[in-house]
Symmetry: C2
Subunit: 144 residues, 2 copies
DNA sequence: TCTGTTACTGCAAGAAATCGCAATAAAATA
DNA sequence: TATTTTATTGCGATTTCTTGCAGTAACAGA
């Protein structure tokens, strides 16, 4: 709720218009603990606002990502998922083989990110970094 | 060429069948210096093999990623791009705002990856890590 | 509060990626 | 080499995501 308003304030300050659709999308994303697909967000809002369009959901999510209020990642089934950046900060370790996803702490990554900042001037936002590789289960069978 | 055969050998050893389609896809990807979309690969192969189907290209690329011979990343226009893992190892820094992509060295990331390995048993493959954030051009205008 | 500007939405069409299934062909075996 | 098994392909349909456009409504200014 609180962070929901922060996002709205920030968008308004940037000159974006706050429509009922955008409010509902932001609210839905903020209140959820999971990573949601655009489809899922659309489904949840529909009962309250029958005419909300899926394209609007996608466009709003794009805006939120672009403005740094949300992150987009690729879910297990290949669909895009979205979450607020404040939502439980962690690293995603995704197995390229079985698709399993693990949450990991990103303590220890900070020095490297600072190095990137000073070398390239690039400010990495590390809330939802996704790294690919092999999980413990899939390393065992020797496959190279 | 050489690496192309390595990939084919490895797939064969895993019990996958080597079809002309798969050979052409692997060859195309290996010989290209750029990151290619499935569509692009399809387009390049078509002259030589009129009936090759786009779905086959997607399925083969999935296989290559799953088997660790290629990596998949999201291109500037939101399309998926593919590259062999051997192809010029680097980090991708993608600006969430303007979409610009920067190549960066991942020297300095190694200690963190080793930490992940020992903590979670997860073996990150760092050839094509993509990190999102703000590029030097987009940091300036204060937007929070 | 009313009005004008123009960002935003809904709709429908389009593009990108995936899936199911019958036909095909790779490669193991005889 | 011929046969058999079954992984893989092509095709068409489907799903997921994006885009263009005309109508609508947020919000700045009067």
């Amino acid at each position: 709720m609180t962070h929901c308003h922060t996002t709205i304030q920030s968008l308004r300050r940037q000159g974006f218009r706050i429509t009922p659709q955008r409010e509902m999308i932001i609210e839905t994303l903020t209140q959820s603990n999971a990573h949601l697909s655009a489809e899922e967000i659309h489904k949840r809002i529909k009962p309250r606002s029958k005419t909300i369009n899926l394209a609007t959901v996608y466009r709003t999510l794009d805006l939120l990502v672009e403005q740094g209020h949300a992150t987009r990642l690729i879910g297990k089934e290949g669909k895009f998922l979205y979450a607020t950046r404040q939502h439980s900060r962690h690293l995603h370790l995704v197995c390229r083989k079985c698709g399993r996803a693990y949450a990991a702490s990103y303590d220890g990554l900070q020095p490297f990110l600072e190095q990137l900042k000073s070398t390239y001037g690039f400010q990495v936002e590390a809330e939802h970094v996704t790294l690919y590789g092999l999980c413990p289960h899939c390393i065992h069978p020797p496959n190279q």
